[in-house]
Symmetry: C2
Subunit: 212 residues, 2 copies
């Protein structure tokens, strides 16, 4: 069977990059003996906001929806990958060229995807969604937005403003994507977050394939 799925999730491992202040990722691999057979047992410890993951509205909005409100339509189906030229931030002026529409699912491929960021130290000046672009996406009524670093908002600028604007509007957010092998265009996406009860976010696995 030909499927040609592209895995746009980053691998999870001990020592990988994480948001400053979040707990370290620990992937522990133990081996025990059961009736003479070697049994391997992995355990994990991590922030729900590390690696490839989703944000629920609750992440920045008291009383808002948790991951329990996630529905498959939010992250399964057609998606557009848009290449961003600006190497500092995503602004409304650049987005206006792309005819983004109500209900769209959009992934932004930025200069972040030029490096293997998951294996490098945390980068304060990653390309982020500026407040004006966040408000533009809210005004359009997009359904879902994905980015290729750990946060939609910047570390230096608009971390709170961008999250509050997009999460208050109920936009579903995917962060920590690896879009290095993906060109601009139309795709089918399957993104499934772990079912973490009542959580403000969840680690996810995300695949794309080209629409014919």
């Amino acid at each position: 069977m030909m499927t040609n799925w592209i895995d746009i999730s980053v691998p999870l491992y001990t020592g990988m990059v994480h948001w400053p202040g979040d707990p370290e990722v620990q992937v522990n691999q133990q081996q025990i003996d059961v009736e003479g057979t070697p049994v391997h047992l992995t355990s994990i410890s991590m922030s729900a906001h590390t690696g490839t993951h989703m944000d629920a509205p609750l992440h920045f909005v008291n009383g808002a929806d948790s991951m329990d409100a996630w529905t498959p339509d939010a992250t399964i189906g057609a998606v557009r990958v848009i290449t961003i030229e600006d190497r500092i931030a995503i602004h409304a002026a650049e987005l206006q060229q792309h005819e983004i529409k109500r209900g769209d699912r959009i992934l932004f491929r930025t200069a972040n995807s030029e490096t293997n960021w998951v294996g490098e130290p945390f980068k304060k000046r990653f390309v982020y969604i500026a407040k004006d672009a966040a408000e533009y996406l809210v005004s359009l009524g997009v359904q879902t937005v994905g980015v290729d670093y750990l946060s939609i908002g910047g570390y230096v600028n608009d971390m709170v403003a961008t999250h509050v604007a997009m999460l208050t509007a109920g936009i579903w957010v995917i962060e920590g994507l690896n879009l290095s092998n993906v060109d601009a265009g139309s795709y089918e996406m399957v993104c499934l977050p772990l079912r973490l009860k009542g959580a403000d976010g969840a680690p996810a696995r995300v695949l794309l394939r080209r629409l014919p």
Copy 2:
């Protein structure tokens, strides 16, 4: 858009059932203040073999494939749900009625799905795949097998024998499914495990929908 996906993953939360000896599941929810905005930050700690998850061959076989060898074909596509009548174990004799074929993906709905097992204490006598059924499935050359409790092998019987038979053969295994809302029949499945580098298993989210 009509999708009608059925979520057959169990929720993950502190205090949920787990295999005896495995670490407790901890889903910790913290709230901090960032520039006057409440930010909610979930972190998790758990075995990779708790809740709805996959086993890689490495789980019971030294040197065998880890989750790195998982391919989308293993768990995305057509799947059959088979209802098991035996309330103790799945045996080859019962499976022979079902015309299982090479390459099939199969989920077994057993008496385990009659209770909300994820919220109950660990049950030693859950319905499991007996060694004779494991060897039968290997002889048929099925691709993927899913079960509705935490293990393909029993706690009392065939824990090692069933895992070793199926994992040595490279069958992909999904455990910890909730099939209480699913009838026997043909479905489309999407099961995505977290991308845990080199791991013997990984938590997963799994959805089904009826094939027309």
